[in-house]
Assembly symmetry: none
Homo-oligomer: 193 residues x 4
DNA sequence: CATGAATGAGCCTTCATTCAT
DNA sequence: AATGAATGAAGGCTCATTCAT
């Protein structure tokens, strides 16, 4: 199961598990179902029934953030300026990766465990594709950058920031700088306003 | 110990261990000292004496490649064209990361196990710093890109390529494309020949 | 965990472990948790969950004997004759050390693993202190012997007996003789009946 | 081999090994031949050739102290006062056990590794037997204390002191107190001067 | 004689997963 | 549905001892 069950106490358990997992992820600890169960004060099997694998739990932890990005995507689609729409959206995606430790592994995984995750990722990809298409049509982005590159590149920048290291504040600044550089290289070579 | 000892059979064992480790790395298998020992047909302790930790072994496996890069760095330093020198060097670094699975973890690690590794990484960083400085002085690179960004960015691109996936051939092509894009964003904004 | 859990089969396992450990102790074999698991026909982790360390298991094995001594202590406290109470109690303590191989290491250890052990040892120490105080007040024991000496001296005699060696029967006899000698040196120097 | 060999460098190695072992014993570290070799800057096999087992090395480390006691024994044999001779000798034996960590295990061991050790222990036992016999003949010691009890009792007291714990100074004081108590119990019951 | 590399049994410990209660 | 005891494979590491050089 990946969505909160209906029974009241079951819901409470589900939420407890996710909350514990969120804490662990924030601490940078790898998720171990046994460990989660102990910290949540629940039986192991309870955790296993709700989340068959650590990946399923991780994806569940990441889901709200992905939903937030999807919402940002909707807003971006409404932006009439194609360049601003695209860059704004990518900025949000990058910031999410930098702020939420649950995201990078989920974003980089070639396979998802939960259908929900697949749907969310597809939705984001779709938004990105649309935004990139519009930008390309508007001539503000070079050809040669494919929609399939967006996710890898955001993952790559997030990884670069992690390798660079530094305090959370520095990380955000570094990420913005890297993204700006990349976007500069993405604009057409002609002088632009 | 990290360099081959003098005794003939000991040298053979050392080489066997490194060879086995190289194979495992190429297969994408995580290095486990016990496993390496078994495959090499050696006692566990033999492996442990030569390589105290899996990281030490991994760094040893990565060393030849790092040395190759250092050599490339020397050549790049001799190149009179600052832009070509810098981009050529970074291209070599990126290709190395893409071709040799031992490199990404070693490059991304904040701490090294072997002094040798530290020295090699320092040497490469030094070359990068020099090349970047020359390019900046020649006005072919924007300010805003620091020497400390080179390694993270190369790691980031390599990671992006891995997330993108594809066959080895595709991977190289993708890497070149990503690097080209980044480099485009790194050049000064004025129209250049 | 140090007390039998509630589930029926779990209790059986707990008891099996302790029984195996008891046998090993009697044979003079050092306790190794893996070994215990194998002999008990249980998984290693089962033993580890019940007894985190060999010391914990050893203390558990020793506990019944310590409890028996505590009971003897209660009886001794009820004895109106201070000398007989003290010597009788010490005799029991010594005999326990000689008969149960689990006791000497637990008695001599400066630190306990289980709170239970600490409590039992404290209880015995308390009884000893009381009995010694009474004997001293009654003038049947010289000053100069402190309560803190009782445990070390009993351990010392037990050790002396072990060094002396011999069959179990001899050991008991030797122990009694050594204790008697010591107690003789503990009485006041005036001629006594 | 257990006595320094004749060749000059071999002697130096032998001495180095014993010196290292002495340090380790003083630190309370268990002797491991491999470890000793490393610290002595010698090959393992060199240590093994000189000392077949850790016990052999330990006995060699303990030997000088045993020889010192033997010398004390000679002096005690010359003492015309049987009580003073006996108690003085036992005091030396006890102090040696308390001061030199190499002694307790050697003294308590039922079997020796080196003939030399056996000879030294026999010599000490012989002295003790003689001194005890004289004291008994002089009527200053009860019957019931056998010569075979002397070593065990000294080991027992040393062990009691260890269990008691405390600083080196305290240990000596405690040891003397315990020995005094025991000796008191060893004198005949009639009032003595 | 000296060296120190090699051995490999053996111990400790963890963890994902199952299953009896 | 919930619990948590049980499992046992798997991995990490040490150490006494041997033996090739």
């Amino acid at each position: 199961m990946t969505t909160p069950p209906l029974r009241k106490d079951a819901v409470r358990n589900w939420e407890r598990i996710v909350a514990v997992a969120r804490d662990l992820v924030d601490q940078g600890t790898a998720l171990q179902l046994n460990d989660v169960a102990r910290r949540a004060g629940l039986g192991v099997a309870t955790v296993y029934r709700n989340f068959a694998t650590p990946e399923a739990l991780l994806e569940t932890v990441a889901a709200p953030c992905l939903e937030g990005l999807a919402a940002q995507g909707e807003r971006a689609l409404a932006d009439p300026d194609p360049w601003r729409a695209l860059t704004g959206f990518l900025t949000h995606v990058l910031e999410a990766q930098l702020h939420d430790a649950a995201l990078p592994p989920v974003a980089a995984a070639p396979e998802d465990t939960l259908p929900r995750t697949t749907a969310l990722k597809a939705s984001l990809t779709s938004v990105g594709t649309t935004l990139l298409g519009r930008a390309r049509d508007a001539g503000v982005v070079r050809p040669g950058l494919a929609a399939a590159d967006l996710v890898p590149l955001m993952c790559g920048i997030a990884h670069a920031v992690n390798v660079h290291g530094g305090t959370p504040g520095h990380r955000t600044e570094t990420g913005h700088r890297y993204l700006a550089t990349l976007l500069e290289g993405v604009r057409p070579p002609t002088p632009h306003a």
